[in-house]
């Protein structure tokens, strides 16, 4: 071996050793979710927003189960303070440490068994900007991996924090929030070496970007623009409406590792309501289909290139985002599928290879913005496009038939558990001054009032259904829609944190209630299960005050009329 060859050999050996070291770090020391995520449920940990890349919100743990859940008691509580608009986040757990974020992107690392804080990180935000934002100052979650905790901020930054020390590793400004007012409220998704996060958009006149950021350096690797981000999409926006089209991708998506595809849901177009009515293809403030708003898009996580998409609601005229809703990945009868709920109240079932429609089924009863959606093609049937003037009893209301909180899927029961919201609204569509440039203003286009559905009261429900056909096995009704995420477990349980503050445990097969506990504040965030030092825990965020929850006082009265909107706590349970 020549000296030169020997040097190259040693360099190569060093690189291999480094890679091996990095890989072992990524699965043990730092809790990088790569390996854990490949296994449904992720074992003892909960390392990504939706539980796993398959987005099941399912823990395989069985220590707490249908037989002993009655013995569930509070183990510890953590108060984050400054819970403006409640506590909306999903905790994560890795190797016995629980990480979570409160309002203003304040992050904690806590001993998952004892509740003892290990470190905290409070980023300094632009207070003037935070005060000017409508959808603020909550943060719905974080991502973990490569020895870091990743969190977005409402002033347009993505921050990496050292997982062990709590010290910032990098802090990257991704959006000019000072101009556009929007920032990040959703959780990032870590895929290999990229941290993926989507901006707010929707009613804000911008172009709603989704970013891929290098996890090691914080350098922006790519940006996908959800409004007219390709030549094809540009043709679907009349005039200059693409400049202010809204969109965005404000909730975390899912990842199909087999095909290296990220699935992400996009926000609605702006203005929300379109005075052109049925002439929307050629007239109004945003003529055309308005790609890629209210769509599910499949991106290459390495490049941000669009692979394929399906627009769930072409020219969405009702504010029924596709940004809400998890991407539940299941295999059924030899088919690889993705199940995705849309805010309008329908659940879309896609082929995972190309987003071709397999089925579409309604989860809520009160839907009249369309007469139906073709279950074979996904085409809207009998659109209700509302021209200038007054309209009554549009269902669902702007708050949606489903909201951003996630449902759960149990591989044991084969059932998909999901909240449905039954409410409607009256509205008056107004021809407002066109918004021609991105700016710090909402762009709504109508006055509206939430109301009860005809012939009954507004209410909510949680049901257990076949995720592909929608066939209902059981349903529990609630006097008000729950607004928190659900959790299914290997112990044959489904946990439902409700709006009044009660946490319920149901038999996952039958819907029979087995246990409940009053946390004293409405739930509007996440719930997970994990194991630490041999014990299984259930952790749930309490704290009320989101944009949907803020409607409850006027619609339902007490306890919501007087429920605090600046309080919250993380409550953690285990068996006594």
């Amino acid at each position: 071996m020549t000296t030169q060859r020997r040097a190259m050999y040693l360099v190569g050996l060093a690189m291999v050793a480094t890679l091996v070291g990095a890989c072992s770090m990524s699965t043990s020391d730092t809790g990088t979710p790569r390996a854990a995520m490949a296994e449904p449920g992720g074992g003892n940990d909960w390392t990504t927003y939706h539980g796993t890349y398959e987005s099941w919100h399912y823990s395989p743990l069985t220590q707490i189960n249908a037989d002993n859940v009655k013995r569930l008691r509070v183990a510890w509580v953590h108060h984050p303070g400054r819970s403006t608009r409640g506590l909306q986040s999903m905790p994560l757990v890795s190797n016995g440490v629980l990480y979570y974020t409160g309002s203003y992107s304040r992050v904690w690392a806590i001993d998952a068994a004892t509740g003892t804080p290990l470190w905290s990180y409070f980023p300094k935000l632009n207070d003037d900007l935070v005060a000017a934002q409508t959808h603020s100052p909550y943060t719905r979650g974080i991502a973990l991996g490569h020895g870091k905790v990743f969190v977005g901020t409402v002033d347009g930054r993505l921050i990496a924090i050292d997982q062990k020390t709590g010290q910032p590793a990098w802090d990257t400004k991704l959006i000019n929030s000072e101009k556009l007012t929007v920032g990040f409220t959703g959780a990032p998704l870590l895929v290999k070496d990229k941290v993926i996060i989507g901006a707010q958009g929707g009613e804000w006149p911008g172009r709603g970007p989704i970013f891929g950021v290098d996890a090691a350096s914080g350098r922006k690797a790519w940006e996908f623009i959800t409004v007219a981000g390709t030549d094809e999409a540009m043709k679907t926006w009349g005039g200059d409406s693409w400049r202010t089209g809204g969109g965005g991708g404000w909730m975390a998506g899912g990842y199909d590792a087999e095909t290296n595809t990220v699935w992400w849901g996009t926000g609605n177009p702006a203005p929300l309501y379109d005075w052109a009515g049925s002439d929307w293809k050629t007239a109004g403030p945003r003529p055309g289909d308005n790609l890629y708003t209210t769509s599910v898009i499949a991106l290459d996580p390495d490049t941000g290139k669009l692979k394929f998409y399906h627009q769930e609601l072409p020219h969405d005229a009702w504010d029924f985002d596709s940004a809400v809703g998890e991407f539940v990945m299941i295999d059924r009868g030899g088919q690889k599928l993705v199940v995705h709920p849309n805010k309008g109240g329908h659940v879309f079932v896609y082929n995972r290879a190309d987003a071709k429609i397999v089925n579409v089924w309604p989860l809520v009863q009160n839907i009249n913005f369309v007469k139906g959606i073709d279950p074979k093609t996904g085409a809207l049937i009998g659109r209700r496009d509302m021209a200038l003037g007054k309209h009554t009893n549009l269902c669902p209301a702007i708050a949606g038939g489903m909201s951003w909180n996630s449902g759960a899927y149990s591989p044991k029961t084969g059932l998909y558990y999901k909240i449905g919201q039954e409410w409607c609204m009256d509205l008056e569509v107004v021809k407002t001054t066109p918004v021609l440039e991105p700016q710090a203003q909402l762009n709504i286009g109508a006055n509206f009032t939430l109301r009860n559905p005809e012939g009954g009261k507004a209410f909510g429900h949680v049901s257990g259904r076949d995720p592909v056909t929608g066939q209902k096995k059981w349903e529990v009704k609630f006097t008000e829609p729950p607004l928190a995420s659900l959790l299914a477990t290997g112990g044959n349980l489904v946990f439902v944190p409700d709006a009044r503050g009660w946490l319920h445990a149901y038999n996952a097969e039958t819907g029979q209630e087995l246990w409940s506990h009053n946390n004293g504040l409405g739930h509007n965030g996440g719930i997970i299960s994990y194991s630490a030092k041999g014990k299984q825990y259930i952790a749930v965020a309490t704290g009320w005050g989101s944009l949907v929850g803020d409607e409850f006082g006027a619609l339902f009265g007490e306890p919501f009329k007087s429920m605090p909107k600046d309080a919250g706590a993380l409550v953690v349970f285990t068996l006594e």
Binding site: T84, R85, D128, A131, A132, Q133, T134, S136, P137, E203, P271, D426, E428, V430, T432, T433, V435, Q439, A440, Q441, L442, N443, I444, G445, A446, N447, F448, T449, L450, G545, L547, D550, E551, G553, A554, K565, D566
Partner: protein, 112 residues
Amino acid sequence: MGRILALAIVLTLAATVAHGQDRPPTPAATPGADPLIGQQIFTNLCGFCHQDGGRVAGRGPRLAGTDRPDEYILNRIRVGKEGAMPAYGRAFSDVQLRSLIAYIRGLKDEGR
């Protein structure tokens, strides 16, 4: 003493006028304030929370028939309320703010 005080007031007023939008709002009618302009702004922004154009309570309170003085409402629009209402001080001109007041004052209080 009185002259000095008067001079100070004049200078303060001159300084605030020179700062354009930072000028404290005055109850006097602002040239160009128009309830129709106010309605347009209200529909696109404020109606997201103050339902039915401000006639009924929703996320935000009912504004029709409010007994809050103009200065209170103007201040609330400018600086907002943490966790409940955004601060629109940098988004609107004085004419737009006054137009919003004119729109709100024109709402019929139907007691809903």
